[in-house]
Amino acid sequence: MMSFHVHVRVMPRAGLLDPQGLAVEHALSALGFSEAGAVRVGRAIELEVSAPTRDEAMTRARQMCDKLLANPVTEDYLLQVEDA
């Protein structure tokens, strides 16, 4: 068994209203960063996964996302698997 670092990035699906992103964008603008736009706020999750191979770690991590870590109705996720 090897250990892998898994990084999960969960973002609100494009096209859905992201009120948090809008509020942050307004705050940035108020601070003088008017060049900032299209701000969206998501969630990052890090975990360690024991698996025989990197591919297997990726497969299991994808199952974790589909079942719990992301909501398929409203969110998309990106996975990154690195050797621990």
Partner: protein, 239 residues
């Protein structure tokens, strides 16, 4: 007399209100802890409001995997009535017993106030005591109540008449701001096709006693009390 199981998760906080509203209207209501795997002969299940598991990750995302939810899934699949109120609605969506999801309120703030809603579907176990088009003033108290679903799902819900409660439009003279959370189509509550599974954001259990003003929410509980299981009805799978 209907046996009503009120499921308690760690973080439920409307459980006593739901229990009392059901008991006061003549049902035999009792609590079922989320670690239990048996609903103890429940005819009707209520998933009450609150903040199960601290709303960690997403509202309802962790509660949905509680041991009791397997029994709730079986009960629902066999046509058994399930009412999810607020956090209970969020749990039903996370459990895919109802379509769509409840996202952060469009205004970002937690909204706690009375809202006006219209009862649109009355052939459910929980709304049979209302007449279609009834206007109710019910409290909402949520940070994540913006009902969201794909365009196809919204069309399906409307075409199949599955919107149970809808926030009234401002033009109808309500003193309260319409649609407190930006939900799609002003949806405040939906049902599955058969009408045995209902999820609503407003809290009828908080206005089910005339001591607390106009008991607009009482009809949900008198509907439960009046319900008779019809064993001749074919079971329709939930979705």
């Amino acid at each position: 007399m209907a046996n009503v199981a009120v499921v308690r998760f760690p973080g439920s906080n409307c459980d006593f209100d739901a229990l009392r509203a059901a008991s006061d209207t003549g049902s035999n209501a009792y609590f079922v802890w989320h670690r239990e795997t048996d609903l103890r002969g429940a005819d009707v299940v209520i998933l009450p409001g609150g903040f199960s598991y601290g709303d960690y990750l997403r509202s309802g995302a962790i509660a949905r995997f509680s041991p009791v939810m397997q029994a709730v899934q079986h009960h629902a699949a066999a046509g058994g009535p399930v009412l999810g109120i607020c956090n209970g609605f969020q749990i039903l969506c996370e459990a895919h017993l109802l379509p769509g999801a409840l996202m952060r309120n469009a205004g970002l703030t937690f909204v706690s106030k009375p809202v006006d809603v219209v009862v649109e579907r009355t052939d459910t176990v929980f709304t049979s005591d209302y007449s279609a088009g009834s206007r109710l003033r019910l409290p909402v108290a949520h940070g994540e109540g913006r009902f969201t679903a794909s365009a196809d799902t919204l069309r399906m819900l409307e075409a199949e008449g599955r919107v149970v409660l809808r926030y009234t439009a401002s033009s109808e003279g309500s003193p309260y701001q319409p649609n407190p959370n930006g939900s799609a189509n002003h949806i405040a509550g939906i049902s599955n096709v058969a009408g045995n599974i209902v999820g609503i954001m407003p809290h009828p259990e908080r206005v089910a006693d005339s001591l607390l003003g106009t008991p607009d929410g009482r009809g949900f509980f008198t509907s439960i009390a009046a319900w008779q299981p019809d064993t001749t009805t074919p079971k329709v799978p939930s979705r």
